[in-house]
């Protein structure tokens, strides 16, 4: 659906359904450089099973106009504006990677709006190496290669895609190729600079589900351990066969975790 947020065009995939105030809502927030279609199978499931779905394109991503937002806090505020625009009081929020940091910060800033949050492929702090940041700053192809390779389990090039006939590396590279110059760098800087994670964790009131890939090279599961310990109402699932891109590498396990959590 087309939206106007801060007087700029924005897009949220809604699984071809209008928002129904009587239904619960699931908000999907993508990671650095990606867009709503990264949640294809999972968002579609909830959209056809009694939920409102808002799979967002953050500013400067997918179909949403730029400029890109520069901090996790700004992004969390933007998510709240999307809910307000749609008159949604409270929602389940699912975030992946950078989107998981946004979901965490959102739930801390707007506890009344966060019914439950699911954090997929998260680490805190989410530090980004100097080499990766520098390559992204230069819009060098090597940045997109790093994003692609580290976003998947090392086994991905030697394994089949659960989605028949699709090549995960090629798909990620094609999505990144559509980004405007500088957007990936802005996203990575926001992840790298985010320092409010433990404070946000301490303020959380809603239940939290962690879904982590055992073979995650971008945000290894050990990077989430401190957050998991800090959040009282949390549970954690490790998906043995997956790297960072759990929605693509282990789509059923990811979906099943969300179904169990959101009921």
């Amino acid at each position: 659906m087309q939206l106007q947020i801060d007087a700029r065009p924005a897009f949220a995939y809604s699984a071809a359904h209008a928002i129904d105030p009587a239904r619960p809502t699931v908000v999907f927030v993508h990671g650095a450089g990606l867009d709503h279609s990264w949640w294809g199978l999972q968002s579609r499931y909830f959209g056809y099973h009694g939920f409102n779905v808002l799979a967002l394109d953050l500013p400067a991503h997918g179909r949403s106009a730029g400029p890109a937002l520069t901090s996790i806090g700004e992004m969390a505020d933007w998510v709240k504006k999307v809910l307000d625009e749609n008159k949604i009081r409270t929602a389940f929020v699912v975030g992946h990677s950078m989107g998981a940091l946004i979901a965490l910060e959102f739930a801390a800033r707007f506890p009344e709006s966060a019914q439950k949050i699911a954090l997929i492929g998260i680490a805190y702090p989410m530090k980004v190496s100097e080499g990766f940041l520098d390559a992204a700053r230069r819009n060098d192809q090597s940045a997109y290669d790093m994003e692609t390779i580290w976003s998947h389990s090392p086994q991905v090039p030697f394994a089949g895609n659960p989605n028949p006939g699709m090549w995960m590396y090629g798909d990620t590279l094609a999505r990144l190729a559509r980004l405007a110059p500088g957007v990936l760098h802005t996203d990575l800087l926001a992840c790298n600079a985010y320092s409010g994670g433990m404070d946000a964790a301490a303020r959380l009131k809603c239940p939290v589900q962690f879904v982590l890939g055992a073979r995650d090279m971008m945000t290894p599961p050990r990077g989430a351990e401190e957050l998991i310990r800090k959040i009282e109402k949390s549970s954690s699932i490790r998906v043995a066969v997956s790297g960072h891109s759990l929605m693509a590498e282990a789509p059923d396990a990811t979906l099943d975790a969300l179904i169990a959590f959101f009921g």
């Binding site: 995939y13 071809a16 867009d35 709503h36 279609s37 294809g40 199978l41 999972q42 579609r44 499931y45 056809y48 997918g62 179909r63 190496s129 100097e130 080499g131 990766f132 520098d134 390559a135 090597s142 290669d145 790093m146 390779i149 580290w150 090039p157 030697f158 394994a159 089949g160 895609n161 659960p162 989605n163 028949p164 006939g165 699709m166 090549w167 590396y169 090629g170 798909d171 590279l173 094609a174 999505r175 190729a177 559509r178 789509p251 059923d252 979906l255």
Partner: protein, 432 residues
């Protein structure tokens, strides 16, 4: 900082797309010779049908063995994914049927495989899709032929049979400036010799029957999408960017972004036209791909020897191979095909049609048949076989004369092949 590296071509040719069978541990790709797949329960069935879960439902739409081939080719080409089809022609048809309706227009190179020429020039016309054929050597003709209803630019990486080298960069630029995709037939080059997506092509297909299989035992095709063409931005492809009543009002681009083309091609094209690949065929073609990186250099090496031999032979009028300075696309070939210009080429024998007939009938190692890209060396006379339906004017436009002979160089000892050619040229010369 040294970044992470992708696996090399040779490694992908052997491993991409295959998860070792978790039940048996089978190292080879199993042949899933099944039409259908048992659902876990009714909810699982519904989720598969509504595309909420990944998996297989019916082998016309997808099959685990075929999916390995699709993913492997996509990996070798650098695409987002692929769809294997019953033949190369089925892949071309699937691409066109996914992108356009009656009333659409294609601008295509005139130097095409005869079957493709027939499809575009005659068959699709009956369904309201018109094609303008242009010279692949004059890229401006592509631009000049564009119409408001043009939806696709199309050519072969190496044209048939004169090996016209398509200037993919230039044609892609013309296509993209017009908000249109470029489709190429990459059969003659394979991903080993050229990566068309890196040059700007948006879609490509192979007749997998040829070098990908390499054994001449299976007919198949593969259609690959780069995922780089922005259908939404183009604004010319409502087939992918507007709700489609034929598939539950799905907006394919909104639903899947970079995967929109393949999503519709699979979910509508395979469902309705049904030109899918059989699992046994996929298995056969996979066996070929596992040695593609070993076979192609040998094909090219032997071809160079034979081209050199023929170019110097007194019974030969001309040899059309882009590595020869005499070929009109020599310079372009050096840029686009540094690993070689493939193993299919043509030459004109002195003495015309009768000399050609005697030459072909004298060969002992070369097989006279209608195919290319086999491990065995092949020969054919295009004017009387592959291109026989074409009018003389079109034949000339495609660079074919009455004495044109097409060779496909296989993996035999090159000295034996040269001996076979030398003896047969001598027989043909006696007819003059």
């Amino acid at each position: 900082m040294a970044g992470p590296k992708y696996p090399g071509f040779d490694t992908l040719a052997l491993h991409a797309g295959q998860t070792v069978d978790p039940v048996t541990g089978a190292r080879a790709v199993p042949i899933y010779q099944t039409t259908s797949y048992v659902f876990r329960d009714t909810a699982h069935a519904a989720s598969l049908f509504n595309m909420e879960r990944a998996g297989h439902v019916y082998s016309r739409i997808s099959n685990p063995t075929v999916a390995v081939l699709e993913e492997r080719i996509a990996a070798l080409e650098g695409g987002v994914g692929a769809i294997a089809t019953a033949s190369g022609q089925a892949a071309l048809h699937l691409a066109i049927a996914t992108l356009m309706d009656a009333g659409s227009h294609i601008v295509a190179s005139a130097a095409l495989y005869g079957g493709s020429h027939n499809l575009l020039g005659y068959t699709l016309k009956r369904f309201g899709i018109e094609t303008t054929f242009v010279s692949p050597r004059n890229t401006d003709e592509f631009r000049q032929a564009l119409k408001p209803n043009t939806r696709l630019l199309f050519g072969e990486t190496l044209g048939n049979p004169g090996l016209d080298v398509l200037d993919i960069r230039a044609v892609a630029k013309i296509a993209h400036e017009a908000g249109l995709p470029l489709l190429v037939d990459a059969t003659f080059t394979t991903p080993y010799l050229m990566k068309p997506f890196e040059l700007g092509a948006d879609l490509l297909y192979h007749s997998a029957t040829k070098f990908l299989g390499g054994h001449g035992i299976a007919i198949g095709g593969v259609l690959v999408d780069s995922g780089r063409f922005d259908w939404e931005k183009s604004g010319k492809f409502a087939q992918l960017t507007a709700p489609y009543a034929g598939f539950h009002d799905m907006d394919f681009e909104e639903e899947s972004g970079t995967r929109a083309f393949l999503l519709r091609a699979r979910r509508e094209g395979l469902r309705d036209f049904g030109a899918c690949m059989a699992p046994m065929t996929a298995f056969h073609i996979l066996q070929g791909i596992e040695t593609l990186h070993l076979r192609m250099p040998r094909h090219v090496e032997s071809t160079r020897k034979i081209v050199g031999f023929l170019a110097e032979h007194s019974a030969v009028d001309s040899v059309m191979y882009p590595e020869l300075e005499s070929h009109p696309d020599h310079k372009l070939a050096k840029q686009l095909l540094p690993r070689g210009c493939g193993a299919v080429f043509s030459f004109d024998i002195k003495g015309g049609r009768e000399a050609g007939r005697r030459f072909i009938e004298s060969l002992r190692v070369f097989s006279h048949l209608a195919n290319v890209g086999d491990a065995k060396s092949l020969v054919i006379h295009p004017a009387s076989t592959t291109h026989y339906r074409m009018a003389d004017a079109d034949l000339k436009k495609a660079g074919i004369g009455p004495g044109t002979i097409r060779l496909s160089i296989g993996l035999e000892d090159a000295a034996d092949l040269i001996q076979d050619l030398e003896r047969s040229l001598a027989v043909a010369a006696k007819a003059r």
